[in-house]
């Protein structure tokens, strides 16, 4: 398969944009930045924006006004860089932000019609920089992580606020990212200690279910495959690795005791370091792209963003329908996707296949469409 990027639009911040997050409808984006703010962007034509593939839009700023607009600037909560932003995944009415000031804030729409957000809760606990916030698919749980090496799990009180239900301290260095499994109640965390940890609930408590080793430097980010059977991770070691959860074998139940093995992962693909020439900061996984013939070996596409200024798209497929081993092949590359700046984040649109948002050190958010 070969592909190319067709559409580029951009919108801006006053400093590097660390992360972007789509709302569940796919028509709005939240972004966060070293300028200490988070912003919410909305496609002016709503879903029509994604339908009008015939109309080519070039990358000039003047086109922006007719396609996307900034509907809210959240700049009154954090004293330092806003490192992470996440839309609530069920209805998209709330946004969480995590900051280097150590706090995580929850923002809710003031009313259904207005696109403005107010702070309804501030979650405190991290000793210093909070680096990521992630909502579980149910919207009932939240995870945060930070430089204090900890992962915190928070549970919704039902009124916008959250109570901490667990503090997980097993990483030996700062934790860069947390990510929920799309189907199971599992949390993955990615760390400067070069490992990934998987956490699960066990008897009202959260425990370490697995430690995944293999990367040789900081693991910056990860993405589960849409069904959750695979996990891709990207690292300062410039590789992309794909891991598969081993089938759980429950032994000995006939003997009257119950053995619950740890969740374990094995590496099923390594994309070598020749793909990117500097650290890879972000990865996103989409199921498939519109118009493409899907086979039962097809597992969709990975997008990666790197300090080498490029965004790459990799196709993922099973070697055979029956085996776990994967083929990961480069489909297309966008060099200098944010000029000569690092790419900090790549996010596939959850509703409109093939649409990708990226953000970079140039303070810009771009929206691309992958054409195969």
């Amino acid at each position: 398969i070969t592909g190319s990027f067709r559409r580029v639009l951009y919108v801006g911040h006053d400093d590097r944009v660390w992360q972007v997050s789509w709302d569940p409808s796919g028509t709005r984006l939240a972004s966060c930045s070293g300028d200490k703010s988070a912003r919410v962007w909305s496609a002016i034509s709503g879903a029509n924006f994604f339908a009008s593939t015939a109309m080519e839009v070039d990358g000039s700023r003047s086109n922006l006004a007719s396609t996307w607009q900034c509907v809210d600037v959240i700049d009154n909560a954090h004293k330092r860089t806003v490192r992470s932003v996440a839309f609530e995944p069920t209805r998209g009415r709330a946004i969480a932000t995590a900051s280097f000031d150590g706090t995580t804030a929850i923002w809710e729409k003031t009313d259904e019609s207005a696109d403005s957000y107010e702070c309804v809760a501030t979650l405190e606990g991290h000793e210093n920089e909070a680096k990521c916030v992630a909502w579980a698919p149910s919207g009932q749980l939240l995870a945060t992580c930070g430089r204090d090496k900890s992962v915190w799990i928070w549970e919704s009180t039902g009124e916008g606020d959250f109570d901490c239900i667990s503090v997980l301290m097993e990483h030996t260095q700062d934790v860069k990212m947390v990510l929920w499994h799309p189907k199971q109640e599992l949390l993955a965390s990615f760390s400067y200690d070069d490992t990934i940890r998987i956490w699960k609930e066990d008897d009202d408590d959260w425990v370490s279910a697995s430690t995944i080793s293999g990367h040789t430097s900081t693991v910056w980010a990860g993405a589960f495959s849409p069904e959750g059977e695979y996990l891709a991770s990207v690292s300062d070691d410039r590789t992309v690795r794909v891991w598969m959860q081993n089938a759980v074998q429950e032994n000995g139940s006939e003997e009257g005791f119950y053995y619950r093995p740890d969740t374990s992962y094995k590496c099923v693909a390594v994309v070598p370091d020749s793909v990117h020439s500097r650290a890879i900061y972000s990865v996103s996984w989409c199921a498939s792209v519109a118009g493409e013939q899907s086979a039962n070996t097809d597992l969709g596409f990975l997008a990666t963003g790197s300090g080498d200024n490029s965004v790459r798209i990799l196709s993922v497929s099973r070697k055979e329908a029956t085996t776990a081993d994967l083929d990961v092949a480069l489909v297309c590359t966008q060099e200098n996707a944010h000029g000569l700046s690092d790419i900090n984040c790549v996010q596939w649109n959850p509703k409109y296949p093939g649409w990708l948002a990226t953000s970079g050190d140039d303070g810009v958010i771009r929206i691309w469409h992958l054409e195969l």
Partner: protein, 158 residues
């Protein structure tokens, strides 16, 4: 109690072989392609003050001309610096000063890697990892105390 005890209170001080960069053809003519070279990068960092002593990185041989690698065409700079002693706890701070100096002075297109010269520090890999983690650097530069210290070290580098 001496709270200002230095990690290395008697460092070797080297005579500075003055090799000021002479006026070059490209300096006044925008028409001449004038790539950034290692000499230019050395000029930027040699007068950074050591955090412990009123001495420059050049005088202490922490920064060396020969350990600066610049590839203007591919926008890359690699700087290897040499701490005065292998257990120098100031190594990260010195590296951060070099990074900030280059962040402020070099065109944004450059990707800068800063490393300890191999075999010259006992925590070489930890320091290297920290200095090249953009998130850690960004967070450090929001720390006003640390930024003050860095700015003091950079005050001499003009």
């Amino acid at each position: 109690m001496n709270i200002t005890q230095k990690i290395n209170d008697a460092p070797l001080v080297y005579e500075v072989v003055s090799k000021a960069r002479g006026v070059q053809l490209g300096d006044f003519d925008d028409g001449i392609d004038d790539p950034i070279d290692s000499e230019e990068v050395y000029e930027l960092i040699r007068n950074i003050n050591d955090p412990e002593h009123p001495l420059t990185l050049e005088q202490l041989h922490v920064a060396n001309r020969e350990h600066i690698y610049v590839d203007d065409g591919s926008n890359r700079v690699l700087i290897e610096f040499t701490p005065t002693i292998p257990h120098c706890s100031m190594a990260t701070l010195i590296g951060l000063c070099i990074r900030v100096r280059l962040l402020r002075s070099l065109p944004e297109r450059f990707k800068v890697d800063i490393r300890i010269r191999e075999g010259t520090h006992q925590s070489e890999s930890q320091v290297n990892k920290q200095l090249n983690d953009k998130e850690r650097v960004a967070a450090a530069l929001e720390n006003t105390y640390l930024l003050d210290v860095v700015n003091q070290c950079l005050a001499t580098a003009v």
